[in-house]
Symmetry: C2
Subunit: 721 residues, 2 copies
């Protein structure tokens, strides 16, 4: 594992920077094959000019559901659909409920529902449309997501024809706003352990919904505090003295006057860190009776006589199948967080291109912020990650659409989809928050004003990191999938065998669940690439470094956990716990690889056929910045594992800085390509106002200098004093 | 640089973990010298039991100004002094203004002012008191900071006896609320470039305050939107056609009815991301005339005839001297951010000790969150950093008090104070935000509710990272100081000479400005320590690793910038820009070293004499976690520079995980030692409510199991199916 380690000196920075610049020039030249041969320096006129075709790239980023996204952006552009800062909680809630009604009128919230009920049977398009609402007001995105993506989707996916016919029309029309009552005060991510019970009473053919203790109150439910008149309540189904695990029930909770029905109670969660346009609240049930038919019975049913039946024999698999139908929440958060990062960067890059501060290379002209290297390194790598997350999201949404449209809906497809969503949602929601915060700080005091949007978006998106599956819990799910794939193949091999197969096997696994290409062959080349500094930037070298890391981490963890099967439950749990941070880190690395693969596919795949050479140069640099940025982030790992020599490791940072500097002139194009207009951005600092101010100030001084009216600077004190 | 690199294998984790555990046991045993000799394993009964004396540690953390801090906490405990979530901006502003009046009545805001005017002439105690107000409402801390720490302090420190007599009484009594009008829309951190002018008119013996263009509007000023009736306005002083640079003027802005005085205008900054109890706004001046005496003339004066004079000949030094008097803002943000981190950890650790989720080692009992390794690694290293930041803050505040009380007030003292503040304020404000966010996520959905405080505190503290000096700009100031100290000593040496002296010289420099001990001798041992894995944890090894990094980074940057003196202004600026991220990273490393030194001093210095052995064991582990955590964070650097071998580098992570596990049973004590009561914390999830809920749920199931009423689990499907 140390065969790639070299011990030659690191050389001077200057010559390395020159070598990197030469490499980047050549990479641009090499984009147009045939024009430039080999790796010689390009001749005058041969180099492809790095230049972004913004309209083309905008359309490319809009992806498969471009028209639906554009229609949703049009809706989000309407002032009445947008957040007003400073509303009271009650006013904000009322406004968002009204906005939801608009989505009903235009049919924009209903695409996922069956055609015969007025929907479009278009699961992918439905999510694409929702994601775009985040630019209007994240409360609107989430409130409508609660109504149709959770409450309605539970009826759609967990119910059967009776429920669709009986409940969906009023859910779709918002006549019945509803809560998705899964989470309890005592149990969030661990849904299997909820306390609410639904006990079948054969005598009356009813289920009795009951909350046995305070921790089993349903909590954090949108629509529960004020608006909801029904709820899809998750509870343990008990019949004939047997607990069949968590199932979902349709439960009316309020009458037409808004008062709780008998036996139902609750309270308001009150003010939150954000998303205050949604009325989150708590619910509890004191032996509330609903008809037997109110069990959403697609995956488990109870006959009149109390006999339980299910098409899925294993209660564990049944549980995960039921939860799996609700994966769309995670999918849409992945997309919405990435959209918020786009907005943040559009604001911060535009401002950074107009704002001037400190003179450096001149006595009179102040520098534009984005010309500072630090500012470039704060924003441009985040731009690269945002592109990676956007392309990865398109992959995820496509997979989701294939499964939920039924086009490709096997058990394995569903598992792959869930793993993909669980890997990407944590990365994109954290990236959204980090980007909003970096953008906020990069805009200084102006970034802290509500009128510039960044603080409001960040406050709203904060909870995306923990709802619809806590990010750390999701990463553990991913890791368990990676480990179980690993152990299934190598159950009987001893560790020596494992070690020999690690690269091939884990490389394959690294992309399982992603729908991306198999990397086995490429990774078999391990050790033969990345020989020179410049080769670090090559696609194959990046792929190898990233894939090898996932593979090795999974193999290492699997090896460490190997004794667990021979241990007591307690000791095995302790062993797992000792390696928990490594497990989560392996899952994160897997997610990062998926993002990188999606970016690379966007450059090399069939969809990229229409990309012009100039755009390809810019996007390739951006992908390289993302890939080498990941290597830099995990540089200690590569060094400790002998994958990079110290001198080569040093060049990684030189590369990311040079790439950011190369991309700096393209940063505005790259944020403009997100395709948002001022009606979506709505930040006064990115409106051009800052440029007008800067121009006015510069003109004032230039004029005064010209006219000789500028006061003289204070003379320097004489040396004698 | 590679002489410490070894190429032996990394060994198995198990044996390494055992070695680490043995080392930690021995370290505890070694705490009581004489009882245990050498490094043999401790005998039964010899080991000092790690146990925190919470009351003693609370008092220790309260530090020099303990009584003032306690009095301020008493004030912060009063409900009428506390934030109410959900108030409108107008209501919140009115409430905070009222709270400021309470501080006047009790004299708590006035300690910095002269005794003869009713103050206490106690600059350190004054800041200590302010910092504690952050637990009541950060808006109160900052609003009172604006009134007395900025507006009043400008009059106090930049004015002379006339101004003190004329203006301070009404400022102190809050009869005249005022704005500190330094920042402009166009210029924040670069104060020297503000556009507002104050031109002396000999005919009327007045200064004419004027805003020449939109970018020169004063902006983000607390008290400017509604409350302020005067302002200390920073403007370029122009007399006899010469621009003498930025000076400060006392300018009335509103009449008693609240209307702007003639020539003065402004607007409200409106809603912000937080701190909405403060009325930030903009001001502009159209040839507003103030008497000559309204120039705060301590560092520069204009005679009746327009002749300018100053006790400081150099306009540059004069400018920095004037700004330097306002360092207290940075000092108090450093303390307040650290206090907010304490509150966040008290909440998250308490909740993590009560909240249960997922069964792991048992079929029935769920695990407490803090027993998960990932949860430990999310919170306990942040606890270590909070202690480091708290001890470092005590060092800073002591230095501040020495300078501002006049006890030790040379030019060098002031420069050291400014460097120390500029190094620590970025680290602590970012740490505060990171900790609040990690605590928020660690508390899941409950953390997102306003009632649990974390989101509100985070929203308020967001701007601490960019006001009173943008964090990145401050770190550049620190780096420039490090580089100028370096070049002063080595101005004439060539690079070969520099390289030989680097360790000694930069080690010394690393603590310049800190008032901490010289490290020259210890660092001269470079390469001779850290020979075995366990020695990584030794104080000397940690010091060496951290100091060496600062020293080497400064020397490397200085070497890279060496050609600048021979270059054109433009080329020199480009060279500096190419190394900007390294420069900032060196300053950050310096700040981290200062924190580590302060923590170590708190363990070893005279003040630690009363510390019992059990507490010393716990705090030593905590310091080790902080120190090794820094090494881990920068592990790639240590590897690339040959300071750690790959195998030793791997053990760093094992150490930090083992230390966190060791500290886990002490986490509650360590947050309780912050000394906050429920009246300060005010988070329902850390009130014991979660424990009550968990206990109730567990009792419910235990009782049902006992009574045989728990439904049976669904039988496993037969294998045949």
């Amino acid at each position: 594992m140390t065969d790639t380690l070299d011990t030659t000196g690191s050389g001077s920075d200057d010559s390395e920077v020159e070598a990197i610049d030469r490499d980047l020039d050549e990479s641009a030249a090499a984009i147009r094959p045939g024009k430039v041969t080999g790796r010689r320096a390009p001749q005058e006129g041969e180099v492809v000019v790095a230049r972004t075709d913004v309209p083309w790239l905008t359309r490319y980023l809009l992806g498969t559901w471009a028209d639906i996204r554009l229609a949703s952006r049009d809706a989000a552009a309407k002032p009445e659909m947008q957040r007003i800062d400073g509303l009271s909680m009650a006013e904000h809630r009322a406004r968002v409920l009204e906005q939801c009604r608009y989505l009903v009128e235009t049919g924009q919230g209903l695409r996922a529902f069956p055609v015969e009920l007025g929907g479009a049977n278009d699961p992918g398009g439905n999510i694409a449309g929702f994601e775009e609402l985040v630019v209007a007001d994240p409360s609107l995105q989430i409130k409508s997501g609660v109504q149709w993506g959770l409450f309605g989707a539970a009826v759609l996916h967990l119910g059967t024809e009776y429920h669709h016919r009986t409940f969906l029309p009023d859910i779709m029309s918002l006549k019945v706003p509803g809560a998705f009552a899964m989470t309890e005060t005592g149990h969030g991510s661990d849904v299997a352990s909820i306390g609410t019970t639904a006990t079948y009473d054969e005598a009356t053919q009813e289920f009795v919904i009951h909350t046995p203790f305070r921790g089993a109150w349903k909590d954090y439910l949108g629509n529960a505090a004020t608006d909801g008149t029904a709820a899809t309540v998750f509870a343990k189904l008990i019949t004939k003295g047997v607990d069949h695990g968590v199932h979902c029930f349709y439960v009316p909770i309020r009458d037409e006057s808004g008062a709780f029905l008998p036996g139902v109670g609750g309270e308001d969660d009150g003010l939150k860190g954000g998303l205050n346009g949604i009325d989150n609240g708590r619910l509890h049930f004191d032996h509330v009776r609903v008809p037997r038919q109110n069990l959403l019975n697609r995956y488990g049913d109870v006959a009149e006589d109390g006999t339980y039946s299910s098409p899925i024999a294993s209660s564990g698999r049944r549980f995960f199948t039921m939860l799996g139908t609700l994966v769309q929440g995670r999918v849409s958060l992945d997309g919405a967080s990435t959209n918020a990062a786009k907005v943040a960067l559009q604001i911060a890059v535009t401002y950074g291109n107009q704002r001037r501060q400190f003179t450096a290379g001149s006595d009179t002209d102040e520098e534009v912020l984005l010309d500072y290297r630090m500012h470039q390194m704060r924003l441009i790598p985040k731009l690269a990650t945002t592109y990676a997350a956007a392309f990865a999201h398109e992959t995820l949404l496509t997979k989701f659409d294939e499964v939920f449209s039924g086009r490709s809906d096997t058990d394995e497809d569903r598992q792959d989809l869930e793993t993909l969503a669980a890997a990407l949602k944590p990365l994109s929601t954290w990236h959204g928050l980090d980007t909003l915060q970096e953008a906020r700080e990069a805009c200084g005091g102006a970034g802290f004003l509500a009128e510039n949007r960044l603080v409001g978006l960040r406050a709203d998106l904060d909870v995306y990191a923990t709802f619809e599956g806590d990010n750390h819990v999701l990463l553990q799910l991913v890791a368990k999938r990676l480990l179980s794939d690993y152990s299934r193949r190598f159950a009987k091999a001893d560790f020596g065998v494992l070690a020999r197969f690690v690269v091939e096997q884990a490389a394959d696994k690294a992309t399982s669940g992603s729908g991306l290409r198999s990397l086995v062959q490429r990774v078999a080349d391990l050790g033969s690439t990345a020989r020179s500094v410049s080769q670090l930037r090559e696609t194959a070298a990046q792929r190898q470094l990233l894939t090898d890391r996932v593979a090795t981490m999974v193999a290492e963890v699997a090896g460490a956990l190997r004794p667990a099967s021979k241990l007591s439950q307690k000791a095995a749990a302790d062993l797992f716990n000792q390696h928990q941070t490594e497990i989560i880190e392996a899952a994160r690395a897997h997610g990062e690889l998926l993002q990188w693969e999606a970016f690379t596919e966007a450059l090399e795949g069939p969809a990229a056929a229409g990309m012009d050479d100039g755009t390809r140069v810019v996007l390739t640099w951006l992908r390289d910045l993302f890939g080498l940025g990941l290597v830099e982030k995990h540089l200690a790992w590569y060094l400790m594992h002998g994958r990079l020599s110290p001198s080569r490791a040093r060049s990684v940072r030189l590369y990311t800085e040079r790439l950011a500097a190369r991309l700096r002139p393209h940063a505005q194009d790259l944020v403009d390509a997100f395709g948002y207009g001022p009606e979506h951005i709505r930040a006064s600092i990115s409106s051009g106002a800052e440029k007008a101010r800067q121009d006015e100030a510069r003109a004032y001084y230039a004029e005064a200098r010209e006219a000789g009216t500028l006061p003289a600077p204070e003379p320097k004190p004489s040396k004698k004093r």
